[in-house]
């Protein structure tokens, strides 16, 4: 497969997954902000900006930290490269460049999504229609992934699409967990203590894991179990371990030249997430663990870029 084409497919899939994750984060943030009026308010509003490392850019454009402005910035701002608007735009733009290679259903899904996005009134998204908008983004992402899985030939296009999707998802899950953990548990000693049920429930809901938690643990919500679920539970499709099952699978199928550095790191990360023990992770510091994982995911992205996709 042409390197340029693989690059477009990889990023097309990442952008769509990113749009979905952004919608999840914003959806949960909106709920938390409505539930809570206390001191956590500001922390909750800051979380999406911390996760995407865009607080400075936000402050440049908005004086106050408030929900409508945050949604405007994270969902609709054309100048914010992490906004849902930008993600959908670039997903579609990348698809446009490779539409001859992806299936027409895939292209039509992304093109229709973008056309609809452009037609949605801004006031609706920042107002009462926010939840419906976030649901719509998630649905479009589900649709795209399903259409891709159901229509595309099993070859390099499929492999790079899967690689992009799950690398992005792993990155997002790690970031969400890290930011929330950071805010809620400033010190390791607090682990397992009585904490705001809503905060943890919201975290679980943001990755569609609330019901899964109940099913798997049949227990109250404890941070260590939440961490286990989101990091190591490979039956949970948004956990880091599950994402890396997919990353490894995709990497194993890709036939490259001089791609050992990329494959080595992917397999190493997979092994680390397969055999880690959650108690040990907590002892060593959850934040430290996640930071290392995030750094390695970033490095893996660079190595994939170098090995297959051409110079950046």
């Amino acid at each position: 497969m042409l390197s340029r084409v693989a690059d477009r497919i990889f990023w097309m899939s990442r952008q769509m997954e990113r749009a979905e994750n952004m919608a999840r984060i914003l959806g949960v943030t909106s709920n938390l902000v409505l539930l809570d009026t206390g001191k956590l308010q500001e922390q909750n509003l800051l979380a999406p900006l911390s996760i995407t490392e865009t607080e400075a850019a936000y402050r440049e454009r908005h004086d106050k930290l408030a929900l409508p402005a945050l949604i405007e910035f994270m969902a609709l701002d054309e100048k914010n490269p992490c906004s849902i608007y930008s993600c959908l735009k670039w997903a579609r733009e990348n698809a446009h460049a490779v539409r001859w290679l992806i299936t027409s259903e895939m292209w039509e899904t992304l093109n229709a999504t973008w056309l609809e996005m452009r037609a949605i009134p801004r006031s609706r998204v920042t107002g009462a229609g926010a939840t419906a908008f976030f649901d719509w983004v998630k649905e479009r992402s589900h649709l795209f992934r399903g259409v891709t899985y159901g229509t595309i030939v099993r070859g390099e296009a499929f492999n790079f699409s899967r690689l992009g999707t799950f690398l992005e998802r792993a990155d997002n899950t790690a970031r969400i967990l890290d930011v929330k953990y950071h805010i809620l548990l400033p010190s390791v000693e607090d682990v397992g203590g009585a904490l705001d049920y809503y905060q943890w429930a919201a975290l679980l809901r943001s990755v569609s894991a609330f019901e899964t938690y109940r099913q798997l643990y049949r227990d109250q919500i404890f941070p260590i179990k939440v961490a286990h679920l989101l990091i190591l539970e490979r039956r949970m499709p948004r956990s880091l371990a599950a994402c890396f099952d997919q990353v490894k699978e995709a990497m194993a199928r890709i036939r490259g030249q001089k791609d050992e550095p990329a494959k080595r790191l992917a397999y190493e990360l997979h092994a680390r997430l397969s055999y880690a023990d959650v108690e040990e992770v907590f002892q060593g510091g959850l934040h430290e663990f996640l930071t290392t994982v995030l750094t390695d995911i970033g490095e893996l992205g660079s190595r994939v870029q170098r090995a297959y996709l051409g110079a950046v």
Binding site: L2, H96, R99, W100, E108, N111, A112, R255
Partner: protein, 470 residues
């Protein structure tokens, strides 16, 4: 003064012609609202599928649809067969001409075409001299524009031998018609055109360097911001080959390669949709970012094929056009089956005098112009426009040719007021490989403005499905 013109659907007596009968009956039986509803559906589908033409700027919203008219243009099989014979003859002669002017130049020596006309032409490429091409084919894909005069005779308006476009609309229009009006296809047998991409791939593979056993073909596009990008992508997809940009290709050890995820891969045939001047910055325009440095040397070594070949423009140039009937006689010893439009060459003093005298009646074109730009349609032009054009012709006569204003046939077309006759032309696509192939049909372009004779999409033209029926 109202001009006479040939009506594709109705005979002189006002009766519907036999080959339009089935369509006319269907139109009469089908409620207007249903047809209108289907037209809206077509618009929506085209938009959704992203079948767009025109400028694709930074704002994705700048994409425009090429207007699609739901009333097909119908051609009876016997008439089509005659067109095909004429096209085969014409394109054969044009390929012979191209081989000749880059080899022995017999036609120039015989004085049939003036040597200076060919050798000083901007599109004549010295780098092609003496280069032997597989099957001696230069124009692998030719789009010959035909129009009908008031008596119904087909005339060749121009031969497009460089990178003729529009075939994707022929295919998409058919797909759309079958989707919108399946019952129409049940009523009569319409000859299929869907096998065009397969024929194109065969043609391209036949152009490969003879030593290559299983040639790798790629479509070379200027990129996704090019106005015809949809078509480049569409054809690559339909043929199942790579769509490459200049940056994906490089020359190494005398061969052309693509950069792939598993290392370099050799390419044997390039169906290029970029102009000669941009193909190789080392050989042509140094500022071109679209091409591949060193491509020409690989081509000259016979290690890659280009379709169409470099330098075909010398044969489809408007100043060469008047000589095509003579070429047919010279190379094939046959009388031309398809007529040329009578053409005056302003570089000839006696022609120039006549043209300047009759500017208000004639169509004047730049010899290198295309896309409907840089032309004067005398009967439709204002006095001031005519005078401005007169000055330009006088300043550089050799740059202009003139033709009588053809009436162009009309075909019923949906416009705001309902069904109305609009002028059409026809572009069939001729594929030349080991054998010559055409699909029964082509692209019918329609001038949507009342009375307009300009069918180019860049000038507000639309397209129709083209049916060849038994």
């Amino acid at each position: 003064m109202k001009r006479r013109h040939y009506d594709e659907m109705h005979g002189a007596d006002g009766d519907v012609r036999a080959h339009f009968r089935a369509l006319a009956d269907w139109l009469a039986e089908t409620p207007a609202e249903r047809v209108a509803e289907k037209r809206r559906e077509a618009d929506l589908l085209f938009h959704r599928v992203g079948i767009t033409f025109a400028v694709y700027g930074d704002d994705a919203g700048a994409e425009r649809l090429i207007p699609f008219d739901t009333i097909p243009r119908v051609i009876p099989k016997a008439e089509w067969d005659a067109i095909v014979k004429g096209l085969r003859q014409r394109v054969t002669a044009l390929n012979r001409f191209l081989h000749d002017v880059y080899h022995e130049q017999e036609i120039l020596k015989a004085g049939v075409v003036p040597a200076e006309q060919v050798l000083t032409n901007e599109a004549y490429q010295v780098s092609m001299l003496g280069l032997d091409l597989p099957n001696r084919i230069y124009s692998h894909v030719s789009g010959v524009d035909l129009v009908r005069h008031e008596d119904g005779t087909y005339y060749v308006l121009e031969d497009n031998l460089r990178t003729p476009s529009g075939v994707s609309y022929m295919l998409e229009n058919r797909k759309m018609m079958m989707r919108l009006f399946p019952e129409l296809f049940a009523r009569q047998h319409v000859h299929p055109v869907e096998h065009y991409p397969g024929l194109l791939l065969e043609t391209l593979r036949a152009a490969a360097p003879p030593a290559v056993r299983d040639p790798v073909v790629a479509v070379l596009t200027p990129g996704q911001h090019n106005s015809a990008y949809f078509e480049h992508a569409f054809l690559a997809q339909q043929m199942g080959v790579e769509l490459v940009e200049g940056g994906d290709l490089f020359v190494k050890e005398g061969f052309l390669h693509m950069r792939t995820t598993s290392g370099p891969q050799r390419v044997d045939v390039i169906y290029r949709r970029i102009d000669d001047a941009f193909l190789d910055p080392l050989a042509f325009r140094a500022d071109s970012l679209l091409g591949v440095p060193g491509l020409l040397s690989v081509y000259r070594a016979g290690n890659v094929a280009l379709a169409n070949a470099i330098g075909t423009g010398v044969a489809d140039d408007k100043s060469t056009y008047p000589y095509v009937p003579e070429m047919i006689r010279f190379y094939l010893g046959e009388e031309p089956l398809l007529q040329n439009v009578p053409t005056w060459q302003c570089k000839r003093p006696q022609d120039l005098e006549l043209v300047l005298d009759k500017l208000h009646e004639l169509v004047v074109k730049e010899v290198q112009g295309s896309g409907g730009y840089g032309m004067l349609i005398g009967p439709a032009a204002k006095k001031a426009e005519i005078e401005a054009f007169r000055a330009r012709i006088k300043a550089n006569p050799a740059n202009y040719i003139a033709q009588p204003t053809l009436s162009l046939s009309t075909c019923p077309t949906f416009v705001e007021q309902g069904l109305a006759p609009r002028h059409v032309d026809l572009r069939p696509y001729v594929l030349s490989g080991k054998v010559m192939e055409l699909v029964p049909g082509g692209l019918t372009r329609v001038a949507l403005r009342e009375g307009s004779l300009v069918v180019n999409s860049s000038q507000g033209g639309g397209t129709k499905d083209t049916w060849v029926v038994d």
